[in-house]
Amino acid sequence: MRPGVLMFWALALPLVVSAVMVVASRNPMRSALYLVAHMLLIAAMFLSLSAQYVAAVQVIVYAGAIMVLFLFVIMLLNLSGKGVLERGAGWLFGMAMSAGLAALMVGAGVWRHGLHAGKATAKSLSAGGTAQSIGFTLFDPELPWLFPFEVASVLLLTAVVGAVVLAKRKL
């Protein structure tokens, strides 16, 4: 087995397990911690896909900032023990449908056909994930990413103001 393959499986299994544990944990705090693990594993996956910069962002923003926010709110609301899994028809139904969705997509081969040969080269691979190449691509006027990037800033502005408006005790 080539190391790449080994690495894939080594990351994929924990990824799935951590995701399942997020869902399966009764305590939201546990869920959050599993989610942190999940995020970190994803970042590792990004690294294995030679997307170093994105992996870094993933760790900083997701596993760091976002998850801290989650934990913070969980603590704030003091909700431990309340996120009990529901058992019964509804739960079963939801699970069954999710499983069905997975089975359907796998069975129909959603991921199998359709990809065509990419333009990927060894050069693009080696350069692909660095901050520099990302930066060049992002601000290349010939490519459509410039404006979306600016939009993202407005998006974040909106989110920040929105969070303030909603959560601040007194406006």
Partner: protein, 666 residues
């Protein structure tokens, strides 16, 4: 077609009564208020009567001018309104109807009868109705009736005839329910109109068929393309006139005639129609309107003779009605009811005549019957008037002493209707019976049954006379004494009595001026004398004997009868014949049960079950089910986020499954 000088004035025949109607309807009440009660009523009644006599005068002139023409040219068209050509009534497609009159012997004869007898009855009514509070309204209706009847007689097309036909029905309704404060009268009026309407449907359908077949509704036209013109040549607008078509038309028209002329089974309205004031009974329900059926059949006789089967049916129905009504008349105790059934019976005779293709004889009977039946009704009215409204013969009797003029004129009427030799009824009835004996098939059956009915006629009329005039008085004494009527009522009685005597002399078998006069209006079919029937002379003798026998039997029987009742109460109860006849042979009861009560029940069922519950129920059910479905379906909106997610997920799953699997199948 000929020209007659009076033509420009023919409009006055129906027009004058119409004017009388309009004046009295609009301003009658005001006149009475303005001129005081007595004088005002005089003006109103006088106006009404004079318009009718005016029409009579014009009719007489028309008659004389018609007589001045050759018999085969006695036919003229005249306009009933100014500018009739410019101002048509209905002109569209093949329907072209103008307000025009056909002046021919038949119509002139009817005009004379209607205006003549009508005028007399108007005069009579000025006395009879003198104290009624709706005096102007009565005369307005009365004039309207004359107008409608004249339109019926004069109209140059079937549609115009239908106008008069329905118009007299309307007036009949109005006058029967004249005293509407009693709901029974209103009900009788309704019955008359509705039963008539049943007949009218027949008339209407016949008329529709006529237009479809002949392309016109006019009887006669200048160009010879009228219905009768064509039918006389045995053809229609498009081809030959088949027996089947003629039978269809005549059959339908005869249904109309049955309604108007109270033939079985549509006779049920006529006895009830006696709810109206007696002059109404005399004019409308004896002398004129009820004979309209006969007039119509005679008018269309050219067609009828080409439909032998229908003629047989006409004769059979006529004969049956005559016998049937006569038996009922034997048991009635209301004086007007007796006369009413007598009228039905006599109308039966007329149709027997029509059925025997003896239209002339039938019309002759119409004429004489108008005289003596009007006389009898007016006499009865006089009696009722004298007894302050009493109509039950069981509480009459011995009136001959109190009401001399009435008595004597009634006596003449009695003799005339019974067929006493020499009087009006004798000639006309025997003409019909004699001719019916020659019918094929079964002429003798018709003759014998008819003769038996004639015997019954004599007998029930004698019964009426006996109960009313001859026997001891059974009147309640608490009221006023019976009193003779005022002259305005007696003069018509006397005139009609005279006519009842002499009226028949126009149509004796030896010098039948009457039939010769009518000939241009009737088909050229003559039932050969003695052809399969009994000889004229023999017929006359038998007729005379039967009449005298009937009268004599009656007189003898009732002279002996205690309390002027032939049968004891017990016998009346046990005798099935009496009970049947007294119960009107169950026809009225059955009709009421089926059509009134049964119809009402059916209508109720349809209205409740089909309309409200089924159809509207379905409509409402759609609404209710939708609303219910909405209420149920909103339950899906549980408010739980997890449920919503699951719904979305189900949607996703279903959509993807469908799309992916069907794509896989492709």
């Amino acid at each position: 077609m000929s020209e007659i000088p009076i033509a420009p004035l023919v409009w006055a025949i129906p027009g004058l009564p119409l004017i009388g109607f309009v004046l009295n309807m609009l301003w009658g009440g005001r006149i009475v208020r303005l001129f005081g009660d007595a004088r005002g009523r005089g003006i109103v009644g006088g106006l009404a009567t004079l318009t009718v006599f005016g029409a009579f005068a014009v009719s007489v002139v028309a008659l004389s001018q018609l007589l001045g023409l050759d018999p085969e040219h006695r036919r003229a068209l005249a306009s009933l309104i100014p500018f009739a050509e410019r101002v048509p009534w209905i002109v569209i497609g093949s329907v072209s109807v103008h307000f025009s009159a056909l002046i021919d012997p038949l119509s002139v004869l009817m005009c004379l009868i209607v205006t003549g007898v009508g005028g007399l009855i108007h005069l009579y009514a000025t006395g009879y109705m003198a104290d009624d509070r709706d005096y102007p309204r009565f005369f307005a209706y009365f004039n309207l009736f004359i107008f409608a009847m004249l339109v019926l007689c004069l109209g140059e097309s079937l549609l115009l005839m239908f106008v008069g036909w329905e118009g007299v029905g309307l007036c009949s309704y109005l006058l029967i329910s004249f005293w509407y404060d009693d709901e029974g009268n209103a009900r009788a009026g309704n019955k008359a109109f509705i039963v008539n309407r049943i007949g009218d449907v027949g008339f209407m359908l016949g008329m529709l068929t006529v237009l479809a077949a002949f392309g016109t509704l006019s009887f006669r036209t200048e160009a010879g393309t009228g219905v009768l013109d064509l039918a006389a040549q045995g053809r229609t607008a498009a081809g030959p006139l088949t027996v089947g078509l003629a039978s269809l038309i005549c059959g339908l028209l005869f249904v109309g005639a049955c309604g108007k002329s109270a033939q079985f089974p549509l006779h049920v309205w006529l006895p009830d129609a006696m709810a109206g004031p007696t002059p109404v009974s005399a004019l409308i329900h004896a002398a004129t309107m009820v004979t309209a059926g006969v007039v119509m059949v005679s008018r269309m006789s050219v067609l009828f003779v080409q439909a032998p089967t229908v003629l047989l049916v006409v004769a059979a129905i006529g004969l049956f009605t005559a016998l049937f009504a006569a038996t009922i008349a034997l048991t009635q105790t209301d004086i007007k009811k007796v006369l009413a059934y007598s009228t039905v019976s006599q109308l039966g005779f007329m149709f027997l005549g029509c059925g025997a293709a003896a239209f002339g004889a039938a019309m002759f009977h119409v004429t004489t019957h108008a005289f003596f039946k009007a006389l009898l009704f007016l006499g009865a009215g006089s009696v009722i008037h004298g007894l302050s409204g009493e109509q039950d013969m069981r509480r009459m009797g011995g009136l001959r002493r109190h009401m001399k003029v009435t008595y004597w004129t009634m006596l003449i009427g009695w003799a005339a209707i019974s067929g006493f030799p020499g009087l009006a009824g004798y000639w006309s009835k025997d003409a019909i019976l004699g001719l019916s004996s020659g019918m094929v098939p079964a002429g003798m059956v018709f003759y014998l049954v008819g003769t038996f009915t004639a015997f019954l006629t004599g007998f029930y009329m004698t019964r009426l006379m006996a109960k009313t005039f001859w026997s001891e008085s059974r009147t309640d004494r608490h009221g006023h004494d019976p009193h003779e009527s005022p002259p305005s009522m007696l003069i018509p009685l006397i005139v009609l009595a005279i006519l009842s005597v002499v009226g028949g002399w126009l149509g004796t078998p030896w010098a039948n001026a009457f039939e010769r006069f009518l000939e241009p209006s009737l088909p050229e079919v003559v039932v050969a004398e003695g052809h399969g029937g009994i000889p004229h002379g023999l017929g006359l003798v038998i007729g005379a004997l039967v009449a005298i026998a009937a009268m004599a039997t009656g007189v003898l029987a009732y002279r002996r009868a205690p309390g002027c009742e032939l049968l004891s109460d017990a016998a009346k109860r046990s005798n099935p014949l009496y009970r049947g006849a007294n119960a009107l042979w169950g026809v009225d009861g059955a009709a009421t049960a089926v059509f009134v009560r049964g119809g009402g029940r059916v209508a109720e069922l349809i209205s409740t079950w089909i309309d409200r519950r089924l159809i509207d129920g379905l409509v409402n059910a759609v609404a209710v089910v939708t609303g219910f479905a909405s209420e149920i379906a909103r339950g899906v909106q549980t408010g739980y986020v997890r449920f919503y997610v699951k719904t979305m997920l189900a949607g996703v799953l279903a959509i993807l499954a469908y799309a992916l699997l069907s794509a896989g199948a492709r």
